[in-house]
Symmetry: none
Subunit: 256 residues, 2 copies
C-alpha cells in the first residue's frame, strides 16, 4: 500500500509487450517493489509462476504473482495516457519526451486519477510503429551514444526510479548530522598534542612555533564531531601518558 | 573511450566485494556500457568468462572481459576516495551521503584525477563494518521504506545512472585547491598510527578493531593536502620511533 503522498503510483502501470525473459520479469518485480509501484500487465507466453522469474524476484514474489497476463490486443485497454519507451523516434511530431520532464508531464494526469501506462517493448524487437502510434508520449533513455541498447528490466528500473525521484517520494533515507565539537574542546586536545610533540622531540625546542602553527591549523581548519574529538583526545592522552610513564621509569632506573 | 567532457568517468571504479551472481555481473557490465563507465574490480570466485555472465552482458562482453578479479585484501588498493553502498549506517558520524549530492560531492575529486571507488557488497551480506570503515562516504539508496533490499546489479545501475545524470547538470564553483595526498599515502600513515596505538595500549589487544575502524574513518573521511599528510606522517613516525626507543632502552637496562 502506498501512502497518501504517493497514491498516484496506484494509477501508474508498467506494461510489457511480448516479454520473453523470466529473469527480466523477476528483476522488474524487484525494481517495482523498491520504487513503490504495484501494477503490471504483460503479453507473451511467460508464466508468473516461472521458477527463474520467482528466483530473481527475491522477496517480491507476491508482487510477481499479481502481474496480469493479457492478450496483445488488450494490452492497453483502459489506459488513459500511454508513454512508450523507445530509442527510436519514427516521427518528428514533438511527442518525444525528455526523461527529466517525465514527472512534470505526467503529474496532473496521475493526480486526476487518469491511468498512465509505461509501455515497454519486447527484449529483442522493442516497440513497433503500430504500437508507438498508441503512445501520447515517446521516451528515449539518455544512455551514452555508443551503447544505446538497454536491457528491458534495467530500462524499467530507470524509468520507475526517475518517477520515484522526480516526484519527491524518494526521500526516505535520513542522513545523520552529528553534533560538532566546540573550539574549546579542540584546543584542549591541541594542548595535549603539543605537549606530546615537544616531549618526543617532533617540535624543535629552538623553534617549536614554525611547525606547530601548521600542525594546529590542520585541526582548526576542519569540523570535528564530538565523537571524533573524544576519540582524538583519548588517543593523544593515552600516548602521552604511556610515553611519559616510560620516560619516567627509565630515569628512575640507574644506568650501568 | 570517453570524451573530454566525461573523462572523469575513467577515474571512477565500480568495486564489488565478494560478488556471487553471474547474471548480476552480466547486468552490471551492460549498465556500465549504457552509462559510460569502464573500470570494474571485484573479489570472489566468479569468472568473467562465465557463460551466464556473458549471456546477460549482451553486446558488452568486451567490457565484461576487462573486469579485474583481485583478492579481497587488495580490493581497494590505489583508491583515493571510497563510497560504500549500504542501507545500514553503523555510525552517526555525518559521513552518510544523500544520493542527490553524489555528483557534487565527488566532482572535485574526480576532476583532480583522484580515484573514486563505488564499493558494493556481497548480494546476501552487503558490506561489513570493517569494510565500511574504509569508506569516506556511505550511501543508502532511497528505495521505498517497506522494501529496502535492492538487487546488486540494480543498485549499481541506479548509482551509475545518477552520476551520469547529475554530472550533466551540476555546475561546480571553481576554487583554488592544493594538491591532495593520495589514498596510498594516507594508508601508510594509518599503518604507523595503528602501530603506535597498539604499542601504547590505546587499542585493546582483545578487540582492537572496534575503536580502530572509527579512528581510521576520521582520517579517511576527509581530504588532506600533500603537505598536511606529510606533517601527520612525520608526527606519527617521530612519536612512534621515540616511544619504541624508550621502551627498548628500558628493557635493556637491568632492573634493581
Amino acid at each position: 500500500m502506498n501512502t497518501a503522498a504517493d497514491s498516484w503510483k496506484n494509477e501508474c502501470w508498467v506494461v510489457l509487450d511480448r516479454i520473453e525473459g523470466p529473469v527480466n520479469l523477476g528483476f522488474i518485480s524487484r525494481a517495482m517493489a523498491n520504487t513503490g509501484f504495484a501494477n503490471l500487465r504483460y503479453s507473451g507466453e511467460l508464466d508468473t509462476e516461472d521458477e527463474e522469474a520467482r528466483r530473481f524476484a527475491v522477496h517480491s514474489q507476491d508482487l510477481l504473482k499479481s502481474f496480469k497476463q493479457v492478450s496483445r490486443k488488450n494490452l492497453l485497454d483502459g489506459m488513459d495516457v500511454v508513454v512508450g519507451l523507445s530509442p527510436r523516434q519514427p516521427w518528428s511530431d514533438g511527442h518525444d519526451l525528455p526523461l527529466d520532464k517525465l514527472w512534470v508531464t505526467l503529474k496532473s494526469a496521475l493526480e486526476r486519477k487518469q491511468r498512465v501506462a509505461l509501455l515497454f517493448g519486447n527484449e529483442a524487437h522493442g516497440l513497433d510503429n503500430a504500437t508507438l502510434a498508441h503512445c501520447r508520449y515517446r521516451l528515449a533513455l539518455p544512455t551514452v551514444a555508443r551503447y544505446r541498447s538497454m536491457n528491458l528490466a534495467q530500462a524499467v528500473l530507470v524509468v520507475l526510479w526517475e518517477l520515484h525521484r522526480q516526484s519527491g517520494t524518494a526521500q526516505g533515507v535520513e542522513t545523520s548530522q552529528p553534533s560538532l565539537a566546540g573550539g574549546a574542546q579542540r584546543e584542549q586536545m591541541l594542548l595535549k598534542l603539543r605537549h606530546l610533540l615537544e616531549t618526543t622531540g617532533y617540535l624543535d625546542h629552538q623553534n617549536p612555533e614554525e611547525i606547530w602553527q601548521e600542525m594546529a591549523l590542520i585541526f582548526r581548519s576542519r569540523d570535528w564531531s564530538q565523537r571524533e574529538m573524544t576519540l582524538l583526545t583519548g588517543m593523544v592522552n593515552k600516548v602521552l601518558k604511556q610515553h611519559l610513564a616510560c620516560c619516567k621509569e627509565m630515569q628512575q632506573v640507574p644506568r650501568q
